[in-house]
Amino acid sequence: MNAHATPTATLSTSVLTPAAQPVITVRNLTKSYGGNRILERVNLDIEEGAFISVVGASGCGKSTFLRMLLAQELPTSGQIMLDGAPIPHEPGPDRGVVFQRYSVFPHLTVRQNVMIATEFGASPIWSRLFGKAKRKLREEADATLERIGLAHMANAWPSALSGGMQQRLAIAQALAKRPRVLLLDEPFGALDPGTRVSMHQFLLELWRETGMTVFMVSHDLSEAFTLGTRVLVFDKPRWDPHDPTAYGATITYDFKLDDKKQEAIGELSFGPPEHQ
């Protein structure tokens, strides 16, 4: 993957067309903290290969919803299914994640951050590979770093990286386990506008290349519409002025943008290539 790639003339339509079996199915989901209702009656089917953007006012429960997809939090009632089976009650390698902050491990070098997922899988006790296996993994990690443009920082600590570089590393790390769905919680919220644009391009190219399913929470409307094939809006349809916490938010708008997507991607790819 190269951030400078010239735009491809034809887009593979397979990633843009919804597949028959939804990756994620949400049925009648509610979430309350004590008597404070955050979400209610949330129903959703996420089709394979979709790029879902979620927007909504702060405190509307969109991040809470993402944490429930992650199983970092559990719903008060309702169901979340992954490939037709209830999701496990804890985070796992089938759902990758990138948070706004603290997404990479500060005590590991850039290269080690890429290597660690494989090491977890291959070495249950030491979480480390040695000898030939380690050399092979290093080469693979270096190839990944080359693709995401961080080869020159392989031995640096993450604290030496810019915000955009850290998020690129976090995305590459999250994809190491080939998750069924990539969850992004305001991943570019802390970046400056220029870096953001090049990060959008980076993410779109990755998405097109891998055909993965992406679920991104954003507070930036234009970002949501630029990137998503589908934009969900979370809001409270019912409002009790005497008890603002009585009702929760739900999905109030569901825009499917498949047609506009072609144009949007075209525009982005013709934009000036940017590096941060």
Binding site: P91, G96, F105, P106, H107, L108, F120, S127, P179
Partner: protein, 272 residues
Amino acid sequence: MRWINRKPGRPLLVFLAALPFVLTLIAYMAGSAARLAENPRDKFMPAPTTLLERAGELISEPDRRKGYVLFWADTWASLDRLARGVAIAAALALAFGLLIGLFPTVKALFSSYVSAISLIPPLALAPILFIALGLGEVSKIALIVIGTAPVMIRDLAQRTIEIPQEQIVKAQTLGASSWQIMTRIALPQVMPRLIQAVRLGLGPAWLFLIAAETVSAEAGLGYRIFLVRRYAAMDVIIPYVIWITLLALLIDYALRQTSRLAYGWAEPEAQG
């Protein structure tokens, strides 16, 4: 300009830092001179020259009966106890801190217990230790451990809890087990804090070491000070106190350097 915004320049900084030391020295010399003028045989405040002379004898002349230099034997005996006690306390702090910080079950089991233990004044336990464990080395080391470990455990547990939840979740999405999260994510991240905790714990550790040595010992810096106290031998006590201070300073410096060299990721400015 407000006083809170006035920052001393380099020469003033050095002068200000040295000032309290110099003033203390001057005050001592004045006091010593005054007392010696009144009574040349005064033992309470020996002249600095006398102190230097005595310090030279202390570190070089073997004891007539024992045949070796007491000063170095005392130093070795004390450092040995201190190192053992602090090492055990640090190992306990690391193990329990990580377990309490990461596992809700272990936290439920030990958190209140450790908090309660850390409130017991360790010196009040000293007699129990001496009765239960005898007057040998074990009880002295045990006093250091009991005096420093609970606070260090609480500190390390807190540091472990403070590791951003995002990282713990991320590790799980990368397929890490509880064990792997503890050993490869949490452990390396609390190591700099452990060194920090040891640095802070060394103060109390010296206190409990010297307290233990005053009760019963055959050698040790604290033992020697309390032994010669009977003869009001300030010419021995003062060099010993200065030596203990120097040792504490050196150990602290060594730990700080270790932390900087070994955990560069924790200090953004020390890239390399």
